[in-house]
């Protein structure tokens, strides 16, 4: 039985908007063309970068979570020093540091960037539109429980909700709770239960 479905663009979320602001798109185009015209960037390099960014998904993040579920020592390392653990795995952090926060039966973490859309892209891929929306950014800090309920997660009063606003040089990754009934599963099978939203903290890991 699937109590919690995945929220990968299968329906509209609060604040989803279909496309970027046309003025912003025009500005981007103008800057891009100027940079290419002046020989500051190569169109091929730009394209390769865009493809690398778009090709990234939450798989890496899911793999890390599955491993943390299986290896207590790895989990302890990850929580103590997220960035260092990533470097050991050869993940390119590109600057910002990583801070991993763990969900437990008593604590639920969720991540937002109220200023823009900061998010660990190298682990999760491009942020979903709702993450960048004004509505999510303002409501996640103001009424996180109501936002979580709209995502299908209703938390009891005994659970402490912790919202992390990534305003500076830290990027947050949520380590969701391992679902019941997964005792005999392999790392790859476990990783398949971890959606991008579970890593943002707006969904639990799926039950098998």
């Amino acid at each position: 039985m699937m109590e919690h479905h995945d929220h990968d663009h299968d329906h509209a979320h609060p604040g989803d908007h279909p496309q970027a602001d046309p003025e912003v798109a025009l500005l981007e185009q103008a800057v891009r063309e100027l940079l290419i015209e002046k020989g500051i960037i190569e169109p091929e390099a730009l394209q390769a970068n865009i493809e690398a960014m778009e090709g990234r998904s939450a798989e890496k993040g899911a793999e890390i979570v599955a491993r943390a579920w299986l290896e207590p020592e790895f989990k302890a390392q990850l929580l103590a020093d997220g960035a260092g653990t990533m470097r050991k795995l050869g993940v390119d952090l590109r600057g910002p540091e990583l801070h991993v926060v763990e969900n437990t039966p008593r604590v639920h973490n969720m991540v937002v960037c109220t200023l823009c859309s900061c998010y660990p892209r190298y682990l999760l891929g491009i942020p979903p539109l709702w993450y960048k929306s004004f509505e999510y950014r303002s409501r996640a800090v103001r009424e996180p429980r109501a936002v979580l309920a709209e995502f299908g997660m209703t938390l009891g009063a005994n659970v402490e909700v912790r919202v992390h606003d990534s305003t500076a040089d830290l990027r947050y990754l949520v380590l969701p709770m391992r679902p019941e009934g997964t005792e005999n599963m392999s790392q790859a099978e476990l990783a398949a239960l971890v959606s991008r939203d579970a890593l943002i903290g707006t969904a639990p890991a799926r039950r098998p």
Binding site: E97, H99, T114, L115, V141, R142, E143, P144, R145, A146, A157, N158, V159, E160, V161, R162, V163, H164, D165, S166, T167, A168, D169, L170
Partner: protein, 94 residues
């Protein structure tokens, strides 16, 4: 550079108005929190944002706020908290 605050210290976020590339969200200015972690010196985003080097580096803290202090009408658990990453020059001793 030594951090001015220690973990567990009560701090208040400065309420000043300031233009430019400020990474201190407005909603948290003037609020009281507790230092939960010291993350070391980082380039000053306000300087970086205007094309300068981010020097002098600023000490970065994770500061935790009780939701009920941030939003007096907050509806949710009394233990619910909000963590915001803030630079030292925006924090005052409480």
């Amino acid at each position: 550079v030594n951090p001015q605050f220690r973990v567990g210290d009560a701090v208040r976020v400065d309420e000043r108005e300031q233009g430019g590339h400020v990474r201190t969200p407005r909603y948290i200015r003037g609020k009281r929190g507790v230092v939960s972690e010291i993350r070391g010196p980082h380039p000053d985003p306000e300087k970086l944002g205007s094309g300068r080097l981010g020097v002098p580096f600023r000490m970065l803290y994770r500061v935790s706020f009780a939701q009920r202090e941030v939003w007096p009408d907050y509806r949710g658990g009394p233990a619910d908290r909000l963590f915001v990453d803030l630079y030292e020059h925006w924090l005052k001793e409480e």
